[in-house]
Subunit: 147 residues, 3 copies
């Protein structure tokens, strides 16, 4: 159900796909989505199209910069979001040699009814899928500042 | 006022434009926007850049996959959103032979003041346009679970 | 921290970069972000990929059309947003000869914890950066209809 936009400077198709794989793997590990819940849009850019500050917040960035924007169901706790950020950068570094400093992530939270997975239906309008129900239950029990 | 991002595998310019036409037509029919309220960004992708699960939620997807993300004023009811999803896929199938299973839709709801249609002004900051006023009035009367 | 997507018809790299510069300058002047807080994604389109209505809301648009979508921390007042729209179009006109009518802007508001600037951390999850604290304080004092 999340929709993931990945923007990076053009390297090879294998690199781009490896980046997408790593991000998806991190999402399944940290935000509780099923392995099959994968919808990603890769945009490969020419020199000059991806603009980043090379040192904002004391983070040294290079042309290996990757911007990831994830549209997902609202309700993950701060802890879960932080875990997501950490795991995405860990797996990108381990598998694709991406520098953690080069990974910029932005989340867009929406209601479950704001997705259609196909067939012209709002699959989540009337009932949350199991993984979101479970996530919500966990959050209710343990998170002091869920929102 | 809605901003529509359409991501698809590269076919022909005529196909891409036909897809955009169908989506816009469906929006005018279901969410009450004027015909002139059309702002769409088409991104045509190379093989491997659009990644989708071929069977998540028992929906069989192919490389005809199209991802549509619509930024629009908040407040449509679940019924209206469901009508929108259904009509987009119907018209895409009728006009462009797109399989309904291949149509993924994501909505991003925003405040009216979060749009500028041009001229550096926030056209909807102080007064809602007629079509949004009408939509809201209808929603107030008939929807048990508007949000 | 804002993530800025800029979509325009392909001209020259210098033009595209000048557009991005003007937008960033306008943001630093009106929404209080530091100069270093710059993250922009430019997508240059082929003919037919950027679709706009040529006269909706009595604004005459041309193929110089530019769509800007800014993901930013929630909480700017309507006045600040209106200032942002006006200043973006002013600087685009002054520096790059872009017609004000051709500038479409969309904002996506998110929570501070919904950004990671790098290193796999949620830099703003526990404490707002100084410029957002200051902005918020100003808003609290002066804005009759902040939201």
């Amino acid at each position: 159900m999340p929709l993931v936009r990945i923007s990076l400077n053009k390297k090879t198709p294998a690199f781009a796909h490896g980046v997408a794989d790593a991000i998806h793997h991190a999402m399944t590990e940290t935000i509780g989505i099923p392995v099959g819940d994968r919808f990603q849009i890769i945009t490969q850019h020419e020199a000059g199209e991806l603009i980043y500050d090379p040192s904002f917040y004391d983070i040294q960035r290079t042309d290996g910069f990757i911007a990831v924007q994830i549209t997902l169901a609202a309700g993950r706790t701060r802890e879960v979001k932080t875990n997501l950020y950490r795991r995405i950068t860990e797996l990108l570094q381990e598998r694709q040699d991406v520098r953690p400093q080069d990974v910029f992530i932005s989340l867009l939270e929406v209601a479950p009814e704001d997705f259609s997975l196909g067939d012209g239906k709002a699959q989540f309008a009337d009932a949350l899928p199991p993984h979101l129900q479970k996530l919500q239950a966990t959050a209710d029990q343990s998170a002091p500042h869920k929102h």
